[in-house]
Amino acid sequence: MIKTFKMKMAVALLPLLALLTGCSDNIAVLNPQGPVAREQYHLIVWSLIMMSLVLAIVLIIFIYVLVRFGRRKSKGFDPNDTGNRKLEIIWLIVPVLICILLAVPTVKTLYALNQPPKATAAAPAALNGSKTLTIDVTSVQWKWLFRYPDQKIETVNYVVIPAGIPVQFRLHAYDAMNAFWVPELGGQQYTMTDMPMKLWLQADKPGNYDGRSSNYSGRGFAQMTFTVMARSANDFDNWISSVKNNQPALTHAKYMQLLEPNTVKPQEFSSYPAIVAKDFNKAQMDAVMNGESPEKDSMPGMDMGNGGKGGQK
């Protein structure tokens, strides 16, 4: 009995050891590459410490009682030991304290994540004097469209951002819900058809970071990945002008093709038609294609937030 429990402990500790000995390079969430992910990382580590403590206490008592009272001839059997007010108060108060120790940083981080991270690099010229970059993201079965509303370009399945600059992603869904997740840069948010969402991310230094959809949306979901390419200010400016000068424009017909459910290769466009910027969802787009008003069949007052344009502020 005792031997098997020792074995079990060893098995349980192995992954923990692996974690501590620094194979965390592979583990995206534990390898934050930007201020948002780092803030979440600190919270995760803090909770991991507290929870390891709890688990350790439980395991120690567990092993103690089994070893001490699990033998046929063990002494100290006391059938009248049916409660202990003092002990019970202790193990009521300790979890309350632990909850407080976890809740305070949780709430603080929650509010902090609504604010843009601090820029750590000079803004590229392509931002036209703004200190942040805004990118509209639309999930379509099963691809990611990225629109640069100020730079007027569009990319598919990859996005280039300046390193050290806060980037606000505005998230939309064309059809099914998806979730926009770049684990090394920060936690995810959903894309939804009736509620644009905002997510601040920032990369410390130039590099490529894997992103993927984390909310199941059908057949091509597993292939619904994208790359976030963080570049220096200079490279970012060069990339923008290269796309503007060398790439084809996104035509209306091509855009309608992109909205079909399928998977496509990464691509980029030097401009986009006005309809793209309206962020229509599938129902609205169908209405427009049928020559109706996109607002026609949405009932005012039924949407969440202010007329469906509310959501997270």
Binding site: F62, G83, N84, L87, M177, G218, R219
Partner: protein, 655 residues
């Protein structure tokens, strides 16, 4: 003409996959075999009289458990198929469509058609015996509940070979689960099958609430009930409050899909997020519907095999009540990442963390029940003991998930999948296996073999850890749930391979348990005393298997461990001489529940295919059954004294 028939058939039956044809063949073979065996041994009448029309809570419990074990097997095969597909990067054992169906049916079957009915089975068997009752409050309704669950389960499983399975995940999020993005009958199967069995679940909740409140033996105050009965009382309340939300959500989605309404669509003012809210308003309490009963089982089993009264009884009860209350104000933590404002996420973060407090209290009370005990390592006790550390791991990762900003990194990743399997397997599955071994002698009159039981335990428990511990790390590496494949080069391959080994190990553990059941049915040790474990609660005071009327005399209770006290009194020579028997009032069998559920199945099947010519007669059949029942006045009989005497003597209870 021929063409249109072929076309219809090729859509009606799922085609094109050798595995499906294999399933078709095996289903046909098994059905024919069952029919042949029943006919050959002339068992039709026996089947009808003894089982299909029974209203006996013990037989209904056994039927629940048999069905649940079959569903557990089906869900387990789904799991092994998924693990095979994911064992290495870029495999094509299953294609995307097939994989999507398999994970959807795995989740739905495990929660709704395996875990819940298994628990309903155990509570049917144990609760009336524990509280000293002769049946549940509404025996007829109990049979209706079972047959509705069975009809729902069969309808859901039929989707595998006829029409195609649902593929929107067990949570079926709108708008993806809506008719526009998910045409076909698969999702119809989901809404209708789950709805039909859900009606049964709701009725079970009402039935057991009334049973426990009204039918306890004289002297058994609420705070003298065995802990399992307490857990079922609280679970019943949760069922009654949570299930209507799901019933409504499913009904709205059915109307959306079948009749073109717009509750959850993108167009016409529908709100996809409303589905998420309604679903999880049921879904989170549902977690506790399958968890609180096993807390009760563990409490009784740990007390029995530590040979002590449960430590901190009142605190155990109050912590369950606290959990049941909190379970209704945490649903939003399933979608922290759907754009709630910071104050909303903060509220649900904290409310979720609060659940850890009563749960932690319970863990320590179990540990201190073991403390100063005389621990006996039987098979049910091993499952109960393994629950403590393994469930604690699931619990602490639950607290980590409760922290909303950190959840942005865990959500929908394998970290989450690992967490809920840690709680649902180490909690619910360990618990139902524990209860199965514990109450088996009371159901059938013989014990499951201890040696094989322990083998099954160790293989299953160790494999469970091999399967799910690495999964936490896989989640932190960025792998999300519901991916049918992943490319090489991300470093996910080796971990996935280890997990697959663990999954097959769990399959072997389950197979050993199944073998044990078959072996023990032939060679199992007879339980002649009715009290094989030196039990503390009333179910052990009667013969095994329990007679139809349970208690020849309704016991009078004065303490918490009622049977333990009786045994002590007997040893001290203070037992009272038994009173003479009186005729016992028992409910009559009825064929209406099974017939009504068959109509329900027909109606459900018709609705799935938009065949109203079939659905409407089905609904009329259901209504006709309800009307027929309301004219049954003569629905009870009395068991005469000499028959009671005969039964008691045969069980060696009369000297």
């Amino acid at each position: 003409m021929m063409d249109s028939i072929t076309n219809f058939l090729s859509h009606f039956f799922v085609t094109g996959d050798p595995m499906i044809y294999g399933a078709d063949a095996s289903i046909a073979l098994v059905s024919v075999a069952v029919l042949a065996v029943l006919t050959y041994f002339k068992k039709w009448k026996w089947l009808w009289n003894e089982w299909l029309t029974t209203v006996d809570h013990k037989k209904i419990g056994i039927m629940y458990i048999i069905a649940a074990l079959l569903m557990f097997f089906r869900g387990g095969v789904d799991a092994l198929m998924m693990r095979t597909q994911l064992a290495m990067p870029g495999l094509s054992f299953l294609n995307a469509e097939h994989y999507n169906q398999v994970f959807t049916t795995h989740g739905t079957i495990m929660i709704i058609f395996a875990a819940m009915p298994f628990i309903f089975g155990l509570m049917n068997i144990a609760v009336p015996l524990q509280i000293g009752a002769r049946d549940v409050a509404f025996p007829f309704l109990n049979a209706v509940s079972f047959w509705l669950f069975f009809a729902g389960a069969m309808l859901f499983n039929l989707s595998f070979v006829i029409g195609g399975s649902p593929d929107a995940g067990w949570s079926s999020y709108a708008p993806f689960a809506g008719i526009e993005l998910n045409p076909g009958v698969g999702q119809n199967y989901y809404v209708l099958a789950v709805q039909i069995s859900g009606i049964g679940s709701l009725a079970t909740g009402i039935n057991f609430l009334v049973t426990i409140l009204k039918m306890r033996a004289p002297g058994m105050k609420l705070f003298k009930m065995p802990m399992f009965s307490w857990s079922i009382l609280i679970t019943s309340v949760i069922i009654i409050f949570a299930f209507p939300a799901f019933t409504v959500a499913l009904a709205l989605m059915t109307i959306d899909r079948l009749f073109g309404a717009h509750f959850f669509t993108i167009a016409a003012g529908g709100s996809p997020m409303l589905w998420a809210n309604l679903f999880w308003f049921w879904g989170h309490p549902e977690v506790y519907i399958v968890l609180l009963p096993v807390f009760g089982i563990f409490s009784d089993v740990i007390a029995t095999f530590a040979h002590k009264t449960l430590f901190g009884y009142a605190v155990m009860v109050w912590s369950m009540i606290a959990i049941s209350f909190l379970s209704f104000i945490t649903w939003l933590h399933h979608f922290f990442t759907m754009g709630n404002t910071a104050p909303v996420n903060a509220f649900f973060s904290i409310s979720t963390m609060l659940i850890a407090i009563p749960t932690g209290v319970k863990i320590f009370n179990w540990l201190f029940t073991l403390n100063k005990g005389r621990i006996e390592f039987t098979t049910p006790m091993l499952w109960a003991l393994a629950f403590i550390p393994n469930f604690t791991i699931g619990g602490v990762t639950g607290v980590m998930l409760a922290m909303a900003p950190a959840d942005y990194q865990y959500h929908n990743s394998y970290f989450l999948v690992a967490h809920f399997h840690s709680t649902l397997i180490a909690g619910t599955v360990f618990g139902i296996f524990c209860g199965l071994h514990y109450w088996w002698p009371k159901m059938f009159g013989y014990l499951l073999d201890e040696k094989k039981g322990k083998w099954a335990f160790w293989v299953f428990m160790i494999s469970f850890n091999i399967c799910f511990m690495p999964m936490y790390f896989l989640g932190l590496m960025g792998m999300t749930r519901r991916m049918y494949t992943y490319p090489a080069g991300l470093g996910w391959g080796p971990i996935n391979f280890i997990m697959t080994i663990g999954a097959f190990g769990m399959g072997i553990g389950f197979a050993i348990m199944a073998y044990n059941i078959v072996w023990s049915a032939i060679h199992g040790k007879k339980d002649t005393t009715g009290d094989p474990w030196d039990g503390r609660t009333l179910e052990w005071s009667i013969a095994s298997p329990a007679p139809e009327y349970n208690f020849a005399h309704i016991p009078t209770v004065s303490t918490r461990d009622a049977f333990e006290t009786m045994k002590e009194e007997k040893r001290a020579g203070r037992a009272k001489p038994p009173a003479p028997f009186k005729p016992i009032h028992m409910p009559n069998n009825s064929g209406i529940p099974v017939i009504m559920s068959a109509f329900m199945f027909v109606a459900g099947f018709g609705f799935v295919f938009w065949w109203f010519w079939m659905a409407i007669p089905g609904v009329i059949g259901v209504i006709a059954c309800l009307i027929a029942r309301s004219f049954v006045y003569d629905d009870f009989h009395h068991i005469p004294v000499d028959e009671i005497e005969r039964t008691e003597r045969a069980a060696g209870r009369l000297s």
